[in-house]
Symmetry: C2
Subunit: 220 residues, 2 copies
DNA sequence: TTACGATCCGGACCGAGGTCCGTTTAAAGT
DNA sequence: ACTTTAAACGGACCTCGGTCCGGATCGTAA
């Protein structure tokens, strides 16, 4: 169905979000003990301060511990590892983006046709990435886990759903990962900082990419 | 020119390779002193052995040094850092792929139409990545340099050239990076090892992706 | 209030990557 | 052969991420 190119494929969003909601949005903090919660807050605050003062590279696990007047072990118990701590720092803006495309107003949120949402999503993600580029780079997990972490899966899952609606008979998973690749912080860093491309060009590139990928006429 | 969809855009390859040839293929070894060359060989041999015996994770700089009966400092002076050593281990197959698409027989090498070369390139790269997945993963530099290293630039440069021939009026650089993203070892690892996709599906995905990206009808 | 178990804390400890610098040595010049 | 010098060597040393475990603390049930 909907294999031609007229207006839009109806843009159904009945079962659009359900699968995603449980994927890591909320309810993942298991209610800490009082002292633990206090220390967590102090650690995040200390880390934030360190980022401002010495950049992401200055966020040493021990430095954070000291700055928060806390043992080093505590940092690891709370955040698992360094990338965990860094991702916690990015958590706020990440949740914000999630909320925007899961339940915010169109064109990002439900209500707009899929391709349009896709376009909006990319631009929003692009902007958010540029804003926190340094942290985002530093928070990148080791390659083997880069695609396994919950936030990443949530994003690519969402892109997958939009794609399924737009190009129903394609390998949506693969396409989604390809699109997500365009939003990789490392790539964005390379293009903007090393190649000097302006954000606008990246946005235009995304729009174009979505258009190409989304096209439904059969190849060859 | 060549903005419609007939056969192929003539597939000119006059100025096809020149820019690339100087980009890291050869002449990057500055003629070592005798002892240095000897140690380099011993180190590579030792590293290869360690990989076979304990996997990529077993390739510790000190372990390699010891196994080669060499000081630790020597390893670093020769290879810069760990990823340098690992990339040196991958160098042989990398050069092989380069040679294949730079001067090998079609469809990979010059002589075939661009899109066809593009398809062949992806499949070849895919297979090569799958073969050395573990090393390739371990050899991944820190995010900020992932797109800066010479081999990577050579590959994306080549894809860019093929794309320019296939879709002359697109932002070929961005498209090339997008396609290269599909070949990212981390992604391939995720899809094959964690999602259980067979190589064939990835290849089909690449073919499809090339077809979509390569389409030259104007969007909307 | 007391007692108790689960949770948390802290910092000593470890391994690995990376740096430094005094010493050695290959190879070009005399 | 002898000097010279730039390159290579080696391993002590530093930093930092991550682990471990004995002891302190919180929350709760009696």
């Amino acid at each position: 169905m909907s294999a031609s190119l007229p207006p839009f494929p109806k843009h159904q969003e009945p079962t659009d979000e359900p699968v995603l909601l449980e994927l890591g949005s909320a309810a993942d903090e298991p209610c800490l003990r009082a002292d633990a919660a206090r220390n967590r807050a102090r650690l995040l605050e200390a880390a934030t301060l360190l980022v401002e003062k010495h950049g992401a590279a200055g966020v040493t696990m021990e430095a954070v511990a000291v700055a928060a007047s806390v043992g080093k072990g505590t940092v690891f118990r709370r955040f698992g590892d360094r990338t965990g701590l860094l991702m916690a720092l990015l958590d706020h803006s990440a949740k914000q983006l999630q909320a925007a495309f899961l339940s915010g107003p169109p064109p990002l949120g439900p209500g707009a046709p899929p391709v349009e949402r896709l376009r909006a999503f990319g631009c929003a993600a692009l902007r958010q990435a540029v804003d926190h580029l340094e942290l985002q780079l530093a928070a990148q997990p080791e390659p083997a886990r880069r695609y396994s972490n919950p936030p990443q899966r949530l994003l690519s899952g969402h892109v997958g759903l939009l794609l399924r609606a737009a190009v129903p008979d394609a390998d949506v998973t693969l396409l989604a990962q390809t699109l997500m690749g365009y939003l990789d912080p490392a790539l964005i860093h390379h293009l903007t900082k090393e190649c000097g491309m302006p954000l606008e060009r990246l946005e235009a590139g995304w729009i174009d990419l979505v258009a190409r990928v989304t096209r439904t006429e059969l190849p060859q």
